[in-house]
């Protein structure tokens, strides 16, 4: 059965790095992977594509019109056969990026592009409007992973996304659930404990603690995922572990978001 997962979290927290390395690790298990970048910045799949920005669905729609696009125009094969799609969107400051995500999903559906063993949706920072909740709706991504560090603002964003998941999962036809929290660490003291406790309090669990490691930057400078650039590194092992745990995960919950005061007290406990 096809697994559809989505990674959400604060902007700049490392969703795209985590997604690309996760897709690479999953593909190395012999799985057929489709990664969909759902951010107008369109850099989700860049490391899988060896530094290339692939044409985005929205750019193609704008230039050629929907009728003149085929599946091969929007899906690009990157590292180890991982298929890559970028939704794209308007220039910063104009139009409606959320509607762009909705239009992209409709187009991908129309082309029958949503196939494979695992689809990884890499979604823009916060769920700022209904459009960015699209991957969680209509039975697309069933398993939502929150990417966060131990910093308060990052936990705050993750907590807000819990609110969106809670709201959406209460709909009768909804299949989206919180599947776990990924700690993309800033190497702060007691960070793993803090994020673990946060995950527990929002009725979920810490799936993987990924320490901060310079190899991530080195791999990016070499336009590769860590799995490709340095497969024997400890960091590559972390991503492989994340991939295995995600495939074995059976705990999917309706989250219980925290009040801001509780979130702050939690962060203070782990100073």
């Amino acid at each position: 059965m096809m697994k559809q997962i989505a990674l959400y979290g604060k902007g700049g927290i490392g969703k795209s790095t985590t997604s690309a390395n996760l897709s690479a690790a999953l593909s190395l298990q012999g799985l057929d992977i489709l990664q969909i970048g759902c951010d107008p910045k369109r850099d989700s799949t860049r490391m899988l594509m060896h530094g290339n920005f692939i044409p985005t669905v929205m750019d193609l729609v704008r230039v050629r019109g929907e009728a003149n696009i085929s599946l091969s125009d929007i899906v690009y094969t990157g590292f180890n056969g991982v298929r890559c799609v970028e939704a794209g969107g308007p220039e910063p400051g104009v139009g409606c990026a959320g509607r762009g995500i909705i239009a992209t999903f409709q187009l991908l559906e129309k082309f029958g592009a949503l196939t494979g063993d695992v689809i990884v949706y890499d979604v823009l920072g916060d769920v700022v409007c209904g459009g960015f909740a699209m991957p969680m709706r209509e039975g697309y991504a069933q398993d939502i992973y929150l990417v966060t560090s131990g910093e308060l603002m990052s936990l705050y964003a993750a907590n807000n996304i819990c609110k969106a998941i809670k709201r959406l999962s209460s709909r009768t036809k909804s299949t989206c659930r919180l599947a776990g929290v990924i700690c993309n660490a800033k190497n702060q003291p007691r960070e793993e404990e803090l994020v673990g406790e946060f995950a527990r309090r929002v009725n979920s669990s810490l799936i993987q603690y990924i320490p901060r490691d310079r190899v991530v930057q080195l791999a990016e400078l070499n336009r590769k995922t860590v799995l490709e650039y340095d497969p024997d590194s400890a960091q590559a092992a972390q991503y492989r572990s994340l991939a295995s745990r995600i495939m074995e995960n059976t705990r999917f919950t309706i989250p219980t978001p925290l009040e801001i005061d509780d979130l702050e007290s939690l962060a203070i406990e782990f100073i």
Partner: protein
């Protein structure tokens, strides 16, 4: 705006801000109005304006163009579509282009003002009209009137009045105007600009020439204030309403111009006496009022008139119809009495 679909809550003037502004801009003869949004917003309004005009015996097609936004314009922003439509409209030999926004473009944040500031060879006036922001139909009317008023420059005053904020969608718009003209004519005061009904950009440029503005009613009070500030023109806050109110109107206008009105007042009182005689067959009867959709200002006039005829107001008596807006002038009351008589003798 109402969520209760009762006939009591229905009115031509109860709709969208966009419709309010269109009821004004489409009356500038040499203007084109662009509605920046999906084509449906234009289609519905076009239909409404056309149907209303036909009902008021004006066969005219409102000059409206839609930017016809599609999904991709929403995603990437609709400013390009607006620019293209402005370029196209500018080729059509018009004196001014109005750009009215819709809910959709205000939601996605199109910078309509910035696009309108471009150079198109024709003046472009932007009027924000997104209905979802909570504005009423009347806000649309007032925003349009204010924006258009700002295009006129102060000019030397002459003996004349402007008529401000006629309700272009009401059934009685022309007969109300005729009644006001009759009263003004009785004291020798001509009308300068009907602001805004069936006029040209050149007409509008003379807006500052009037020594007095006569507002249709209190709903355009803000426009009256703006014109007073801009052109130093005082205003009378409403068309004449009721027997006594009509006499007062004559006296107030005459006072503003320093003309004598004793004879006009005498003749008007004679006309009012004629009406009391003409309709004496309904004197002393008992009626109730049908309040469906009626503006609150109508009831004092109805009560005043009933008082003159010794008519008793009783909820169990036959219902007589009331106009949606208060009847204008002495002849407005005569029309109301004709309808009352039909109902009483029915």
């Amino acid at each position: 705006m109402t969520l209760n679909p009762s006939p009591l809550n229905l009115s031509r003037s109860g709709g969208c801000t966009l419709t309010g502004a269109l009821s004004v801009t489409t009356h500038v003869r040499d203007a084109i109005t662009i509605i920046h949004g999906p084509k449906g917003c234009t289609h519905h309004n076009f239909s409404l304006l056309h149907a209303t005009a036909v009902e008021n015996e004006r066969v005219s097609l409102p000059d409206i163009i839609s930017t016809g936004l599609s999904e991709s314009d929403i995603i990437f922003g609709g400013e390009g579509a607006l620019r293209q439509t402005l370029d196209k409209a500018a080729l059509q030999n018009c004196s001014v282009i109005f750009v009215l926004s819709t809910c959709l473009v205000e939601t996605i944040g199109d910078d309509v003002a910035a696009v309108c500031h471009g150079s198109y060879g024709v003046p472009v006036i932007q009027i924000p009209t997104a209905g979802f922001l909570g504005g009423t139909f009347q806000n649309g009317v007032n925003n349009a009137l204010n924006a258009i008023a700002d295009t006129a420059e102060p000019c030397p005053k002459v003996v004349c009045v402007n008529i401000i904020g006629e309700k272009n969608l009401e059934y009685e718009v022309e007969e109300n105007y005729a009644e006001v003209c009759r009263l003004l004519g009785a004291i020798g005061i001509p009308v300068n600009v009907r602001f805004l009904r069936d006029c040209s950009v050149r007409d509008i440029s003379r807006l500052g020439a009037a020594r007095l503005n006569i507002l249709r009613d209190a709903e355009v009070w803000a426009v009256g204030e703006r014109l007073r500030y801009r052109f130093d023109t005082p205003y009378i806050p409403s068309f004449p309403v009721g027997f006594a109110g009509t006499i007062r109107f004559l006296e107030e206008v005459a006072c503003c111009f320093g003309v004598k009105c004793a004879r006009a007042v005498h003749e008007e009182k004679s006309l009012q006496d004629e009406i009391l005689t003409e309709f004496k067959d309904i004197a002393g009867t008992s009626v109730s009022f049908d309040p469906a959709g009626v503006a609150s200002g109508t009831f004092p006039v109805a009560n005043e008139v009933a008082g003159h005829f010794g008519i008793t107001i009783d909820p169990d008596s036959p219902t007589v119809p009331l106009q949606l807006s208060p009847p204008v002038g002495t002849n407005g009351i005569r029309h109301m009495l004709h309808r009352w008589r039909r109902a009483i003798h029915a």
